[in-house]
Subunit: 369 residues, 2 copies
């Protein structure tokens, strides 16, 4: 290539201020926090509703997994619509509606062609307010969930994550990763109705709407369609997990005939709201985010111990977790762990260079754009 | 919910004409077709370069997989940059650069913060024009690829797809799904250099650039940076596969101790350029796309035979393939196949209702927005 001087480093171009749009925030008459971001490029509207106390950590101890069933079965029937009619209506509007629960929250996701925004909003309101959890749908979901559980238990990544969470969280509900099989065999329509009545409440929930709509019109529509949805989740707040690790050492899950090991190393750390959480994120990215991170360059590229390796932070509402993860051929397991620990030690002992800080900062900005 | 009359069907709102932007097309001085789509919302630029004759179907018969290695190792070194320096430079620009090969094409993907568009373009040009395929990087890639192959062979979806392609394509190169292990053990720097010199040519390639840039400035920059890249792929066109299936019947891949079966049923069909290909796509979507498709509603919801089930079209440049796919508990395998065949038969024999056509059309539009 002519005309390029390789003796000089790449130019340090200044970042132009970005013009990313931010949503407007307001509150519906029933207490739901509404965030809207009009975007008219495509005639489509996206909905996300976040219910902060409807995830697995809020299940009673002998009903772990009920939250997931309540989420999946929210769209399995209302007094006026069967599960088929709900799915068919969403397809007809050029979109979908789905609900899922994770460790802390339940999330309803929906989209539709813009010309169907009103009937889609009515459909969302119907499943939110009036789910019937029909017995036959509960049985189908039970069978499917059991089968998915059996499949997950055949996968190294799932088994490692399950063991890892127990080590990190001990008995705290954040340890929960999947339904309890014993609870799964027991829940019926009435348990799901009770969970819904106490956990799917508007006060504290957040609804985000992005797409092709008029802000005033959608506010009016939502207040009309969701006005009858009322109430607050009555509950003590979940305690933050103790920062004392429950277990330290090599924790093994045996998996005969496996061609590789799935490694997870980590520890609890402060939540995203902590004052130095951005600095921690930068440090962990230097260690293990992307193809020029230290772990990638040593464990994978220099020594060839692992096919994939990296490090990241998992954020929960009340705490964070630092995780370094790798998939290695079984015979390289020990060497990979040794090298990952050495890199963590080096990160703690030696300051990163200004160059490495700038490069990683650019990497993080680019990834979030 | 008050105010909603459930006796009437949802309104049939007319589709508003969409205003999705289309790229501008032009040609670089070296023959590359350039498509540009300025989008200034975020200070980021995305690059995609498609090389139409650099995929697995173009490997010599005893070198299957060389194309994949050439793609992966394109960014493993140039006379002036090591693999580390290439990855580090891309990270520093707030982005990445990666190359992969699939059945027909190789694709280079890159992104950067907008302020680094020029040095990122120079980096892309350097790896495209001057890859050195260093011997030590070839060895690391060989070990990683072998390990990935072993992992893939433990996964039902991969084994099913491999068997299915052999049934569909017989000896045609489209059957190729993964590298040949014998070839993988043999290739060296010089084989990769030869593949690159004959297959990575600008004439016939397409470069798509989306993001925050000035069209005239980027055209000038590309002509400057890529001007030295010249040439045409010299080759007979690949023949279209014969529409005669090589194999019909139950084709089994045994996998002891598996908790489920992965089913694939299908046949070859005309390519996307065929006059009735949109009608075929609509029909296959009625059969198996989304949660209110016929397969989902019968095989999964009504009978509970499968955890996941669906149908879709795979498009190659010269032909298409119809595929119905399901994951079932082992004991339900036969029932699931019977029901999928019954739904295919019904699709052929009975016209779809206008309602089903309209709903599926909306679904497809919504999914592509």
């Amino acid at each position: 290539m002519a005309g390029l001087n390789r003796a000089t480093p790449p130019p340090d171009a200044p970042m132009r201020p970005s013009e990313l749009p931010l949503p407007d925030a307001t509150t519906l008459s029933n207490g739901v926090r509404l965030m809207t971001l009009p975007d008219r490029r495509a005639p489509v509207v996206e909905f996300r509703l976040i219910l902060p106390c409807a995830g697995r950590a809020y299940d009673a101890p002998d009903w772990v997994g009920l939250s997931g069933a309540a989420a999946r079965l929210l769209i399995a029937g209302t007094p006026t619509r069967t599960s088929f009619e709900i799915a068919d209506e969403a397809d007809r509007y050029g979109g979908y509606i789905s609900v899922s629960a994770n460790t802390e929250t339940a999330i309803l996701s929906a989209r539709c062609l813009a010309s169907y925004t009103e009937p889609m909003t009515r459909l969302i309101a119907d499943v939110l307010l009036n789910p019937t959890f029909p017995a036959d749908e509960v049985e189908i979901d039970r069978a499917n969930t059991l089968q998915r559980l059996r499949l997950q238990r055949s996968q190294p990544a799932f088994l490692a994550e399950e063991r890892f969470r127990t080590a990190l969280f001990g008995e705290h509900p954040y340890r929960r990763l999947a339904p309890d099989e014993n609870a799964l065999q027991r829940w019926q329509t009435e348990h799901l109705q009770t969970f819904h009545a106490t956990r799917y409440r508007p006060q504290g929930a957040t609804l985000l709407i992005v797409g092709d709509f008029e802000p005033e019109a959608i506010l009016k529509l939502l207040n009309d369609a969701l006005g009858a949805w009322q109430g607050t989740v009555a509950q003590d707040p979940l305690p933050a997990p103790s920062m004392q690790n429950a277990e330290v050492g090599w924790l093994l899950v045996e998996r005969p005939n496996s061609v590789q090991s799935h490694l997870m190393l980590g520890a609890l750390c402060p939540p995203r709201t902590a004052p130095d959480s951005l600095a921690l994120q930068l440090a962990v990215s230097i260690l293990g985010a992307g193809a020029s991170s230290r772990l990638f360059l040593t464990v994978r590229e220099q020594y060839g111990y692992a096919y994939s390796v990296g490090a990241h932070l998992d954020y929960y509402l009340r705490i964070g977790a630092f995780v370094a993860e790798a998939q290695t051929a079984t015979e390289n397991t020990h060497d990979a762990v040794r090298q990952i620990r050495a890199e963590i030690e080096r990160l703690i002992q030696e300051p990163a260079s200004q160059e490495e800080l700038d490069a990683t900062r650019n990497y993080l900005i680019g990834r979030h754009m």
